[in-house]
């Protein structure tokens, strides 16, 4: 062992480790590239040589996925639904998180824990009563109903996340506002919200991502293909392939339509996304 320093450790185990890490990185990038390239290839070519690059340049796959498989309609549905529900859930959760973070009473502490419990409840556990409830309200198989569910089901995580952000804001901000004679509502809207902008944007992005990828609720509550979201359209596309013969080129074009927006968001705001998703565990 001797006097080898921890910082300049170059043992064989470590070298193997470094190779393994880069292999994993290469694998992940390879997966992404392969899916995007397959989306531009012809079906039989993908099967003949899945590792090859022949017949590249089939943009027709995208046209096929977009028009034949309802991906166009689904993309529109998803964008509107996901943006609207993310904005609304942040708008509803922000005031609640703010008072829970800033009020130091026994009840606010208990409330914060009460909300956090919701994160532990799998949605499959409550889906039956939710279905009955939404059916009674005439909101099954409707995008409006899906919007309500998306907002409500995102509340616990968003409240939990935002309590952390509001809790880390310095007290002096509100004290200064109070000295200026601002009321609670004005203080919140004009002073606290702008200062907490970073946290709110993170909460918005994390909700955008998780709702964009959401499949289970949509699967249960939506039946018409015209009301599908993108992930449902992808599942539906798998199904049509069973009847009309599979077309992996178009399938991966559909996959790309689902993945590319998230990839763009990730390249742009990756750091913030990673920190936002892991902050709860690390604190």
């Amino acid at each position: 062992m001797g006097s080898r320093s921890a910082r300049t450790d170059t043992g064989p185990v470590r070298r193997v480790g470094i190779v393994a890490v880069w292999l994993l990185v290469a694998f992940n990038i390879g997966v992404l590239l392969w899916m995007l390239l397959a989306a531009l290839r012809e079906h039989t070519a993908i099967f003949r040589e899945p590792w090859g690059l022949s017949s590249l340049g089939r943009f027709g796959n995208f046209v096929k996925a977009w028009s034949d498989s309802h991906f166009g309609q689904a993309a529109l549905n998803t964008v509107v639904l996901v943006v609207a529900s993310s904005v609304v859930v942040v708008a509803v959760s922000a005031p609640a998180s703010y008072v829970l973070a800033k009020t130091k009473t026994r009840i606010s502490g208990a409330m914060a824990v009460f909300f956090a419990l919701g994160i532990g409840i799998p949605v499959q556990v409550i889906v039956i009563p939710l279905f009955v409830m939404m059916q009674d309200a005439g909101l099954v198989n409707s995008l409006g109903g899906l919007f309500v569910l998306y907002v409500a089901l995102s509340v616990p995580f968003t409240v939990f996340l935002l309590i952390g952000f509001f809790g880390s804001l310095p007290e002096e901000i509100e004290e200064a506002a109070a000295i200026d004679g601002a009321g609670a509502l004005r203080t919140f809207v004009q002073i606290v919200l702008p200062v907490a902008r970073n946290g709110l944007i993170t909460a918005l992005i994390l909700n955008l991502i998780s709702l964009w990828n959401e499949t289970f609720i949509a699967l249960v509550f939506i039946q018409d293909s015209g009301k599908q979201t993108l992930s449902l359209a992808l599942l539906g596309f798998l199904q049509t392939q069973q009847y009309s013969g599979s077309d992996y080129g178009a399938l991966f074009a559909g996959v790309s339509i689902l993945v590319l927006p998230m990839l763009a968001l990730y390249v742009w705001l990756g750091r913030r996304i990673i920190e936002g998703l892991t902050v709860g565990a690390v604190k």
């Binding site: 480790g17 959760s93 609640a96 799998p122 556990v125 509340v155 499949t215 289970f216 699967l219 599942l235």
Partner: protein, 286 residues
């Protein structure tokens, strides 16, 4: 301003989370298809569950995923953390490994399925390197394929969490270690692990909760909107869906599936409480 600020979120939460949880408990004591009359059934549903091989299998697979994928993910994540700790390009590596975590599970599942399909990427490589045709992964090893895929998806997330915990350990402790001539294992065992323990414990609770929620990644192996994957890879989430809305001929067994839901909720609660108890350690000051 406490209540007016709190009320909208609280109302949504109570109406869409707490009330349905209680309603699930209530429905679990009945026989009901959601439309017709609701008939009280006592604990009959629970008795049937205990003898239902489909449910027991699903519950077993849920626990198998929890333990096997959890153990694999944490071992790999720790190993990666130790390698990444003072590696060049660590931020890029972390970002690339994290990415699958934010991709729709349906997409990952479609890709994973293609990779292991009979003439997919793996068997093509198999043919090129070893010759002959590779195993029929999807028919004979589906459960293992799914667990491998889940480990791949989750590693980036848990590596990030564990890295954040390990990064907080003061570097001079490692210098002390090297002065004392500690081996890499001793360094890990006596410095890294104890000092990042609270982060590991939180991550373990997080994994327990999220592993029970796994649905889409497995479901998409059924191949369509309506077809369930083979019974052998159902977990309890799929079991609930399969006995109510799922499949070509939905069963709508609301009472029976609710009993399964209640068991699932009880399992989450017990597991989380147990884990917290098990992983509790004196906080190490540093």
């Amino acid at each position: 301003m406490f209540w007016p600020f709190l009320l909208p979120a609280l109302l949504l939460y109570v109406v869409f989370f707490i009330a349905p949880s209680l309603a699930s408990l209530w429905i679990s004591f009945t026989k009901w298809d959601g439309v017709g009359e609701m008939r009280s059934r006592g604990i009959e549903n629970y008795k049937i569950l205990l003898g239902d091989s489909a449910f027991l299998g699903a519950f077993g697979y849920t626990l198998l995923i929890l333990v096997v994928v959890g153990a694999a993910t944490f071992v790999v994540s720790f190993a990666l953390t130790m390698v990444l700790r003072d590696m060049k390009g660590k931020a890029i590596v972390r970002a690339v490994m994290f990415f699958p975590y934010i991709v729709a599970p349906v997409v990952l599942s479609v890709f994973w399925g293609f990779m292991f399909s009979s003439d997919g990427l793996v068997n093509n490589a198999w043919h090129a390197v070893l010759g002959g045709t590779g195993p029929n992964w999807m028919a004979n090893h589906l459960s293992a394929i799914i667990m491998l895929g889940l480990t791949w998806v989750n590693t980036g997330f848990y590596t990030t969490i564990i890295m954040a915990g390990v990064d907080r350990i003061p570097p001079d402790l490692y210098e002390d270690c090297s002065l004392a001539g500690a081996t890499a294992w001793q360094r890990f065992r006596y410095v890294t692990l104890p000092l990042s323990w609270d982060v590991v414990a939180t991550a373990a609770v997080l994994w327990t909760i999220s592993s029970l929620k796994i649905f889409e990644f497995i479901y998409a192996f059924g191949g369509t909107t309506n077809d369930m994957p083979p019974l052998s890879v159902w977990n309890s989430a799929l079991f609930i869906y399969g006995s109510t809305f799922g499949g070509r001929v939905p069963q709508y067994q609301f009472g029976y599936a609710s009993a399964a839901a209640v068991v699932m909720l009880a399992a989450v609660t017990v597991l989380v409480v147990l884990l917290r108890r098990l992983l509790r350690r004196e906080a190490v000051q540093f």
